[in-house]
Symmetry: C2
Subunit: 191 residues, 2 copies
Amino acid sequence: MGRHQTFDTAEVVRAARKVFWEHGYEDASIPDLEAATGLKRSSIYHAFDSKRGLFDAAVNSYLDEVVRPRIRPLITEPVSPDAIVEYLAGLRAALRQAGSFHAENGCLLINAAGAPIAHDAAVRESVAAYRAELHAAIRSGIAARFPERPAGEVDRLAETCTALVVATFALTRVDADAAVGSLDAAVRLLG
Amino acid sequence: MGRHQTFDTAEVVRAARKVFWEHGYEDASIPDLEAATGLKRSSIYHAFDSKRGLFDAAVNSYLDEVVRPRIRPLITEPVSPDAIVEYLAGLRAALRQAGSFHAENGCLLINAAGAPIAHDAAVRESVAAYRAELHAAIRSGIAARFPERPAGEVDRLAETCTALVVATFALTRVDADAAVGSLDAAVRLLG
DNA sequence: CTTTTTGCGGAACGGTCGTTCCAGTATATA
DNA sequence: TATATACTGGAACGACCGTTCCGCAAAAAG
């Protein structure tokens, strides 16, 4: 009974994600999203209820396809002692090539933290949860690198390292050199 | 010849600054700015040309009246060895009281870094210049605290500390505890 | 092949945005 | 006091926003 959806949801969300990532929630217009997804307004609203619904889907897609694959080596046992520095090196490489998408747009969620959409409590919680997930992964990676150090010191190192990564993302758009500098500071910390 | 301005420019900019700080550039509407400043649209446009002109004035006001007074003890000779930790403690106190303006809204310029307005090159440069000014002040404060350490080490410490402060600002809105955590990491670094 | 269900396309909606324009008015100068 | 100046108030502008609605088309089920 009835026809089936002709588009691939994951792919559409991926396209929308790119728009939100590049322009932020508020500057990503429906026409922009139509053009990127190849869908018409009515199809978007039918599938996602609202612009906000599509954004939420994009955030989940971002976590699943961008964030978690990157931090997976930090939390899946056995964690290599080099996993944390490799993670940072990977991030650095992505940011270093000027003009690349990552270098131009930083992190979807950290960008959202300072944007108007952050006045929405649910979005604030998403960003906080993202930071917590990142923090846990970094702590895991640091614990694997320094197995002999006491938990308290690992905690403090992880707190600092996470903050440095956050600063990196916060600065990518406005000052690429400073952003990489923060990342290098993190690498130095764990060298 | 001709009447004079009946309002105090600095005071109007201060009121507008608060609106931009709280809502960000794009969510600060002209009606909002009218209500906050007590001016009508025509007066605003006459005095500042555009919403963007008022924003630029607000940014300068923010630098002159908020940022620079805070970092002044870090750069005016003789710099106390405690100046840097006092700076961080002052920041911490401002962020710690929940509900306060600083705690709710973080930093005007770091917020702008992730917002749509950051696609404007001039704004990006403003934020980068702000970070550079902050960085120079922090380095000066660290140099005063550790006069015996080599310049290279002071540089690295300053880079890390600045990034931690940036992370603090980036997180204030979404995760107050994590923001304070970043600040504490900085204090620990210089303890 | 008919029926039923559902996705799709396109036009239209009300609302808000930043900006402009035009009188009217207050005041410093002559 | 007369005149010139420029600030102020209020209405109006076109553009764009996110959202809704409705008729059509497509395809699975009977």
